[in-house]
Amino acid sequence: MANLTINGKTFTLDVEPDTPLLWAIRENAGLTGTKYGCGIAQCGACTVHIEGVATRSCGVSVGEAEGKKITTIEGLASGGTLHKVQEAWIAQDVPQCGYCQSGMIMAVAALLNEKPKPTDADIDEAITNICRCGTFQQVREAIHTIASA
């Protein structure tokens, strides 16, 4: 059993401590917005926030995540209001297939939290998620739109 604090709620889950956090979030907590892409912390589809830091949840164990504040894509909006990154994504029509976008949005939200007006170089350094559809142009434009708002 493990207690995980996800999106402000405590989940008591029947899961082994060495299970990757990704699978506890998806299968045990039932929050499927966080995606599996590679399982080796390469692609970023599983990015969540742990204590506000963008983290690839496939590379973190449940044991390591216990007692920490975890935010997934489902917890990014507050109340009925979408996060500014989600709003910008909709305004800019960023997603294509959309599968990588939960992770992409979480990575961008963390970047903007740290650097509200990131340069292109900041974006290049912080956003290392794979998008096979190739939405990078819209991702960059949407980030700059938020930064200049």
Partner: protein, 728 residues
């Protein structure tokens, strides 16, 4: 709020009045628009022809047979219907009919296949007619109620107006009456100049759920009591499963069953996928790898190289004059050998499908590019007839051609069949996905060009050796053994026609089919053919001492549409003016999927091995542009996919297996490596070309030609990582 409604789980979308169920898929294409019997959607709203449901609140539900996998066709197809329907676009939503429903209604929605950049171009005519038919019926219903001639009424924005009296009503109010009418035998489509919605870059209909985590992909499907399966198929293609030692994983947490899947694979079924995967990793498996275990990239390369020899048999795909004789007597000759490797689709979402099998029913939930092929796979694997099977399509986490195949659907059914009554979700690990792709085919090409004494190109011999996709996947499409698709981009005529006139031309294919299964990989045969011909055109221009653009132009006077897109990129990149200091340019053009495309690149190179791509330009003439915002995204996306393959891709074979296992060994471009792609759309009208794939062909040769301009070094094989060339 204009929001896409995700296809719902566990529901029969329609109540079908008097449907007679077909026995299988062998039913001719028959697309009636409506019918005498009234059909209602699940919520009771009337269907106005097969493509349109109108709810009392004026919401219009447009049926989409093709699959959305990111390419935007769901939105584009809805635009086509809505244009003719004259409905309020802000009240449009979409719905996937199931393949089972389509078969039961004599394929009323036509082809479900979503590949070959055909989603829009090959259904545009009948979906527009579907919209127009519904509009005529709705207007007729209003006219009947008012007892006026329909010719005095018009529709706009879901409002019907009787022009002489000024009376109005809405689609929602007359939908019931309209659904009872006999559809018109013929409808007239709008002149393209009168389009209001087609050609507009309206927002996609499926974005909101993709930003909140709410969109349901195959991997997210949940059914009551569902179990999860992880699978390993014999890593050597063509090999078999010999044995596995189930006792070794007995008692592992969550494990319910270990099952054999066909002759080649084993799956562990558990409460969670993580438990299934963990147990599968611990399961001792013995494979019968067979003779294919002797095959390597080296042995394949050697076999393909033999096919470059003129003494070997080859299929002739395009020919005029006598190229061999002209080359033999030419003043000057240029020869080069190129090659292109296997590539994995590497969709972000690995292959998966969820199946529920009971004695009298088999249903599957999955992302698929071809609902009807998936349906046929369910019939075959379950052994049940069509009326007892169905496929519920969900969003695809990428397709790129991979999800047109149904291997993963078949496996899911074979597993579920061994656990009747229990829904089972089969998910491939990324490693399984890398090991069991349907790979971009492997080829080599020997090109020989010949000049006369005045540096005019008098002959070109293009000898391709390598794998045929159709041989493996659609043998019925071979023409006396020849794979016509092998000549995509260099064909004599048709939707992928060669854009140059050379007095003596011979383009031929020595077919060599290694054991690695090939598939349709975004751009398909255009990818390597465009690299081969467009890089070689640069080599020929260099040999003739001419500018690469001018050299091409002289050969293109009989191909004005090819030339127009080439000129468009040349103009956009200021080809006539010098590039910025330290920056070098390359250019390329090709035709594929009915569209004419060209590309140009500006790069700089450090130490001969570090490439910085500064600018990428693409031009396309697809005839008509339905949604320019989405076309722009397809162009940019195709460049990311094509350049990822050029720089990082390439699947190699050792001991009969694919060596790459995950994104650490099969990398993909990141945002830092990709410049903005500048799109120039020059739709010339009168034909419908595809959009998702054609432009991918010009990305790699434009960069390779720019690399030569920068370094004087020709790169004739892919990927660049094999030559220690990477992004700066």
């Amino acid at each position: 709020m204009n929001k896409h409604v995700s296809p719902k789980m566990n529901r029969r979308a329609f109540v079908i009045g008097s449907a007679t169920l077909g026995a299988g898929l062998a039913i001719g294409l028959d697309i009636p628009f409506g019918g005498p019997a009234m059909v209602r959607a699940a919520d009771g709203s009337p269907e106005i022809g097969a493509w349109v449901v109108v709810r009392p609140d004026d919401t219009v539900v447009i049926r989409i047979a093709r699959s959305e996998m990111g390419q935007g066709s769901l939105t584009g197809l809805a635009q086509l219907v809505a244009e003719e329907l004259e409905c309020d676009w802000t009240k449009v939503t979409t719905e996937y009919p199931t393949p089972g429903q389509s078969v039961a209604r004599k394929r009323v929605w036509g082809d479900f296949s979503t590949g070959g950049s055909r989603g829009i171009r090959s259904s545009q005519d009948y979906v527009r007619k579907g919209g127009a038919t519904a509009r005529v019926m709705l207007i007729q219903a209003a006219a009947d109620a008012w007892k006026v001639p329909a010719s005095e009424c018009k529709a706009e924005n879901s409002v019907i107006t009787h022009t002489p009296s000024g009376r109005t009503t809405t689609y929602g109010k007359v939908a019931e009456a309209a659904a009872k009418l006999t559809p018109p035998a013929e409808v007239k489509l709008k002149d393209p100049k009168d389009w209001k919605l087609i050609g507009k870059g309206v927002k996609r209909l499926d974005t909101v759920d993709k930003t909140t985590g709410a969109m349901i992909y195959g991997v997210d499907v949940k059914l009551p009591g569902m179990m999860n399966a992880a699978i390993k198929d014999c890593p050597v293609f063509g090999g078999k499963l010999k044995s596995f030692d189930e006792a070794k994983i007995a008692g592992m947490k969550g494990v319910k069953k270990v099952v054999k899947v066909g002759d080649t694979a084993v799956a562990v079924v558990a409460d969670t996928w993580w438990h299934a995967r963990t147990a599968l990793e611990a399961l001792p498996i013995v494979w019968d790898e067979g003779d294919n275990a002797k095959v390597s990239s080296e042995s394949i390369a050697k076999w393909l190289a033999e096919g470059l020899d003129d003494a070997q048999p080859a299929y002739v795909g395009n020919k005029n004059g006598d190229a061999k004789a002209a080359i033999a007597s030419a003043a000057k000759k240029v020869e080069a050998v190129y090659s292109y490797p296997y590539q994995n689709h590497a969709t972000m979402e690995p292959m998966n499908a969820t199946a529920l099998y009971t004695a009298d029913k088999c249903e599957v939930w999955c992302g698929t590019q071809n609902g009807e092929a998936a349906f046929a796979a369910v019939l075959e694997a379950s052994g049940l007839p069509a009326e007892k099977c169905d496929v519920h399509k969900v969003m695809l986490g990428g397709g790129f051609g991979r999800r047109g195949q149904t291997d993963y659907v078949r496996q899911a059914v074979m597993i579920a069949k061994q656990m009747p009554g229990t829904p089972v979700k089969l998910l491939w690990s990324r490693e399984e996905d890398m090991a069991h792709g349907k790979y971009h085919p492997i080829t080599q090409c020997k090109l020989t060009g010949a000049f006369d004494a005045n540096n005019n190109l008098v002959a070109l011999h293009y000898r391709l050796s390598g794998q045929s996709i159709l041989f493996s996947l659609r043998p019925e499409a071979l023409q006396n053994g020849m794979d016509p698709a092998a000549f995509q981009g260099v064909a004599q005529s048709g939707e992928a026609a060669f854009g140059y006139s050379v007095p003596n031309l011979l383009i031929e294919h020595a077919m060599r089919n290694p054991h690695v299964p090939p598939g349709f990989w975004r751009g398909v045969n255009v990818n390597h053919n465009a690299i081969y011909i467009e890089c070689f055109m640069d080599e020929l221009a260099q040999a003739a001492g001419q500018d690469p653009l001018e050299f091409r132009r002289k050969l293109m006077s009989n191909h004005p549409k090819h030339l127009a897109v080439l000129n468009a990129v040349a103009e956009k990149i200021d080809w006539d003016k010098p590039a910025p200091q330290g920056v070098y340019r390359g250019i390329a053009q090709v035709m594929g999927y009915g569209s004419y495309v060209a590309g140009a690149a500006e790069i700089s190179v450090t130490d001969g091995s570090k490439i910085k791509v500064h600018r990428m330009i693409a031009s396309t003439d697809p005839g008509y542009v339905v949604n320019p915002a989405q076309v722009e995204r397809q162009i940019a996306g195709s460049f990311v996919y094509g350049l990822s393959a050029l720089f990082y891709g390439g699947c190699t074979v050792k001991d009969g297996k694919i060596e790459q296992t995950n994104f650490d060994t099969y990398n993909s471009m990141r945002i830092s490596e990709m410049p903005k792609v500048e799109s120039v759309m020059v739709p010339s009208g009168g034909f419908w070309g595809g959009v998702g794939e054609p432009t991918i062909g010009v990305a790699a040769p434009a960069v390779l030609n720019a690399y030569f301009a920068a370094t004087g070094r020709r790169i004739r094989s892919v990927p660049l990582r094999d030559q220690n060339i990477t992004f700066a």
